[in-house]
């Protein structure tokens, strides 16, 4: 499989105010991530809130410049592509279909807007193209002249998907696309995304906190923790034989609808990840049930294991540990 989007040592930090008289602090939302997104795959990105998933998504879309590192699309640095050049090939679908659609535009004009911005076709052609793509996402013609407020959440998310696809992009970055939806609507949207991928040969980056959904839709999964990728593996491998203790805890927390199994003990304790105050060493060590002394001093490297990768000292006894003096 050829690499389509490639991120190298991607870092993004923000200056965060601590209060009126305190110095501003640096928050490393994304901390040295290298990822390659291959043509035709669905790369799932999972992690808790504040782990940097959405910041990573915005950088992959070219909406947010990285502080360090860079992104290439088909080998070209995305900075040379420009905002429009990037938007032709990489498109987003966001979580909240209530705030991501302009309430004062009709469905057809929302979907045709990208074409308008890029100066493609005449108004009549653009409308025709918008109607075609709306039909593809399961919204018949009669919806074309309605406003977002007249639509249900699921229908709005279909509009957002149509808008993302109208430019025939290669990559669609979906940031929690079903989190705001009811389960019966979620399954419709997931089915639609899978159908469209098959039909149009799309590549997805699929960000979600719902592991059952990611297992269902992704072909490969990256697990993020406090701005870093801690494990990367094929979906089946990750769910069958998770390597990182954090991945194990995440999987154990999934509540499947199977009565009689009770509620799992995650073994994570009370510590919570604070991006403003990341612990030294492995960022996960305060919650890790398998931590060793050097976990609190040395950041584990992302070790390649065949096609997979994991950042954990348990799996990397070869990493040199500087003696503590």
């Amino acid at each position: 499989m050829t690499t389509l989007l490639e991120a190298r040592d991607l870092t993004r930090s923000f200056e965060v105010s601590q209060g009126m008289f305190k110095a501003r602090r640096k928050l490393h939302a994304v901390n040295g991530i290298s990822l390659d997104i291959r043509k035709g795959e669905v790369l799932g990105i999972v992690g808790e809130s504040g782990c940097g998933k959405s910041t990573l998504a915005r950088m992959l879309l070219g909406l947010l410049p990285p502080t360090e590192g860079g992104i290439t699309l088909d080998g070209t640095d995305i900075r040379t592509l420009g905002r429009k050049g990037m938007a032709r090939r990489v498109q987003p679908v966001f979580q909240d279909p209530y705030s991501s659609l302009n309430p004062r535009r009709t469905v057809a004009s929302i979907v045709a807007l990208p074409l308008e911005v890029h100066g493609i076709g005449t108004a009549a052609e653009r409308r025709k193209q918008a109607l075609e793509i709306l039909d593809k996402v399961g919204l018949p013609q009669r919806f074309a002249d309605r406003y977002p407020r007249e639509l249900s959440g699921g229908q709005r998310q279909r509009v957002a998907i149509a808008r993302a696809l109208v430019m025939n992009p290669e990559v669609v970055v979906c940031d929690e696309p079903t989190s705001a939806l009811d389960v019966s609507v979620q399954s419709q949207i997931l089915n639609l995304l899978m159908d469209l991928r098959r039909e149009l040969g799309l590549t997805y980056v699929f960000i979600s906190h719902n592991l059952a959904v990611v297992e269902h839709i992704a072909t490969r999964v990256a697990v993020m923790y406090l701005g870093r990728v801690v494990e990367l593996a094929e979906t089946e491998t990750l769910f069958r034989t998770p390597r990182h203790p954090y991945t194990k805890a995440l999987l154990a927390s999934v509540l499947t609808p199977e009565p009689g199994q009770g509620i799992p003990e995650t073994g994570l304790g009370l510590a919570f990840p604070d991006p403003l105050n990341p612990p030294p060493g492995c960022p996960f060590h305060p919650r890790c049930p398998a931590r060793m002394p050097h976990c609190s001093t040395t950041v584990p490297r992302l070790l390649q294991l065949g096609r997979d990768a994991v950042a954990c000292h348990l799996h990397d006894p070869g990493q040199s540990i500087p003696s503590t003096q």
């Binding site: 009811d182 089915n191 609808p257 009370l270």
Partner: protein
């Protein structure tokens, strides 16, 4: 069998709208015994949250509540005075809300908020109340509880805030706890911890719990009994194991088929869907409210739908014996 702590019979909630009365909750009945967990499950707009607010007498002004019977520990809440309800609420009936950041007052320390209701209901001294607060914060797994009392809600993480909410609900030792989507705003790892905590405390203290959620995974793991709500009605109710093993109502079956389950659904395969949308609840509603979306619907579904029941107390509102 212990006594029912909460009895709800024929509860309805109507909301006045410019287009007429919206029947948010339509003639629902259930009861909860001490030590038992009942889950109300359903999608947005099905009336599950209105049900909880109606029980606690916390409905918005535009909503009116009617009920044949609404009793707490045998006492008729429908006839109770406002003062009496205020005495019960927060003391013997407590509630946990979804969003701990909006349910906690940002301008007061958590210590102040924890002791307030206890002092009100128990006329306890400040020192006694703080002692109880420290004890309960420890109980919900918060370390160095005494120092935490001086902190403000914004200084705590989401998981800790929800633990504070739970401690607050337990301050007066309630007999009934209503939890409305208590973990929806939390990460999965924290969700598992909070639910485990709730389940442990509920068992230890023998509280009757009504847990409201849209997540069938939570329901399966925590509930003793489940009531599935659709368009303001309970369409199916039964013991958890029986309801998941043998769902009788097509809507329950549809919900179960919608969710991907690792190891059971085929990755990348088609998920079940429920076609159509929820009907409008404004104006008169006749027959089965699910019939427009149901693949089993027949002409008689437009008439009054029978309620069927098995010996183990599994009830459903459908013309069919079985959803499959």
């Amino acid at each position: 069998m212990s006594e029912a702590i909460l009895e709800v019979g024929g509860l309805s909630v109507d909301i006045a709208t410019p287009r007429g009365a919206l029947h948010a909750v339509r003639d629902i009945s259930f009861s909860v015994k001490s030590g038992e967990t009942l889950c109300l499950v359903g999608e947005s707009g099905c009336g599950k949250s209105m049900t909880s607010l109606a029980i606690m007498d916390l409905l918005p002004k535009a909503a009116t509540r009617t009920a044949r019977r609404l009793a707490f520990a045998g006492e008729d809440l429908g006839k109770a005075s406002r003062k009496r309800v205020n005495t019960l609420r927060g003391d013997r009936m407590a509630m946990i809300f979804q969003e701990p950041m909006t349910a906690l007052n940002p301008a007061y320390t958590i210590g102040n908020q924890l002791v307030e209701a206890y002092r009100q209901h128990r006329s306890a001294s400040e020192a006694e109340a703080r002692e109880r607060a420290v004890y309960l914060l420890g109980k919900v797994g918060i370390a160095s509880a005494a120092q935490r009392l001086g902190q403000y809600p914004h200084q705590l993480s989401g998981g800790l805030r929800q633990r504070v909410m739970i401690a607050m609900a337990l301050m007066c030792g309630p007999d009934l706890l209503i939890a409305d989507e208590p973990t929806t705003a939390l990460d999965v790892t924290i969700q598992a911890q909070i639910l485990r905590l709730l389940a442990d405390l509920q068992r230890e203290l023998g509280i009757a719990m009504v847990l409201i959620t849209h997540d069938l995974g939570i329901v399966a793991r925590i509930a003793d009994r489940v009531a599935v709500m659709y368009a303001g009605q309970i369409v199916e109710e039964g013991p958890t194991a029986s309801l998941f093993a043998n769902p009788r109502h097509p809507y329950t079956q549809g919900l179960i088929d919608c969710i991907p389950v690792p190891g059971r659904t085929v990755p990348g395969g088609k998920l079940g869907v429920i076609p159509g949308v929820v009907p409008s609840l404004i104006g008169e509603i006749r027959g089965c409210s699910f019939r427009d979306r149901c693949s089993h619907a027949r002409d008689i579904c437009a008439a009054t739908v029978p309620v069927k029941e098995t010996e183990d107390g599994h009830q459903w509102r459908c013309i069919l014996e079985n959803a499959v």
